[in-house]
Amino acid sequence: MQDVVLALLAKEPSHGYELRARLQHALGPLGDALNAGQVYVTLGRLEKAGLVAAQRVGQTDRPDRKVYELTAAGQDRVTAWLAEVGWAKPVSAKFHLKLVAVAAAGLADPVAIVDAQRRELLRQLGDLQGAALAEPDGSSAALLLEGAVLRLQADLRWLEACARHWEREERA
């Protein structure tokens, strides 16, 4: 969540409510689970960590609003996040938001991020597969490895769908 918020801020400084609207749009029906508080809590934490800076903007008819922007440390963090290929579980919403944020902010090519992730998962699959093939017939360790192999295969299929989607978006 923190990284996604930072990435969205990399494009331009925003109000909290704008960030929340963009996240909700990206998540569709799943976005209902995202309450307003979460975005503000995240922004507060990021501010405390020195990754974003807030500026009060006076409004005539309503109370002041904060506009958040990235600090230099925040920019470094976004750069590091873009290069990251960790695949913690459950992963899909996080990775999906990464692609949405990256595309919205024009930070990087989402297809390149999918490709980097795919390479990482294929390396993992190769390692697991190699170990599974080295097991003798009927080994119970092979069964454990097969579970991991099947999960990675499902993740890889989903990444293919991600690549197709973002390629289409790029062409459009």
Partner: protein
């Protein structure tokens, strides 16, 4: 890698149709396959994998570009010489097995050797050795109809090897197989790779792709990504969910 390239393609193209119906099935592919290397080419349905494999194996003529096998150009070869090259230097494994239904497993494996002029005795010996290697020694007299899909595919692999080809080309070798049969075929290809065979496999099965040395991703007829695999097995515990 360039010095000992067994199979090389440069600027390879294949177009079908013309005008509005023009399809660039293979669109400018450069590929060097080193001796003993296992290359997997993956990509969505229709991206041109089978077409590329047919060009690499001399089964179809390219619209443009150059092809060579062990340093010898074959895109410009006569049909007769190309047919000989296909028979002696290339082993094919197809998705649909392409076994002759009327011949036993052993006879299917022998056939390309006999066509290449190997003596019947030598052909029979080679077939027996290969069927042993693919774990089907006890099925050699069965007809394909009496074999499972995975077993048929292993016969097809044995047949592809019978003329000791420089390179084995495989199109979706696990395409029609269930998980267990896929594992058998994976194990077989993994063994071939370890024994120094040169392999080019096109597939959408990430499992077989992940056992290669080099993985190439194809989109719309062109290569868009390349990764070297292997040498891993460090983080198995965490990959299998044991934490750490």
């Amino acid at each position: 890698m360039t010095a000992n390239a067994v199979l090389r393609a440069a600027g390879l193209r294949k177009e079908y149709g013309r005008g509005a119906a023009l399809v660039r099935a293979v669109d400018g592919v450069d590929l060097d396959v080193a001796a003993g290397e296992a290359v997997a080419i993956v990509g969505a349905s229709g991206c041109g994998k089978s077409t590329l494999l047919h060009l690499l194996g001399g089964l179809e003529r390219a619209s443009g570009g150059e092809l060579s096998m062990a340093g010898e150009r074959f895109d410009t070869m006569s049909e007769t010489r190309l047919a000989r090259l296909r028979r002696n230097a290339i082993g094919f494994v197809f998705q649909g097995f392409h076994l002759v239904d009327e011949l036993t497993a052993a006879e299917n494996v022998e056939l390309p050797a006999l066509l290449a002029g190997v003596s019947p005795r030598a052909a029979r010996r080679r077939a027996a050795d290969l069927l042993e290697r693919v774990g089907l020694a006890d099925r050699s007299r069965h007809l394909p109809s009496a074999l499972s899909g995975g077993q048929r595919q292993r016969v097809a692999v044995a047949r592809a090897l019978v003329n000791r080809p420089l390179v084995v080309l495989a199109d979706e070798p696990t395409g029609n197989l269930d998980s267990t049969a896929t594992t058998d075929v994976l194990r077989l290809f993994d063994g071939l790779r370890r024994n120094g065979h040169t392999l080019v496999i096109v597939t959408h099965d990430s499992r077989i792709a992940a056992t290669s040395d080099r993985l190439i991703t194809m989109r719309d007829g062109a290569f868009v990504d390349e990764t070297r695999l292997g040498g891993g097995a460090r983080r198995l515990g965490s990959l299998a969910g044991l934490g750490g």
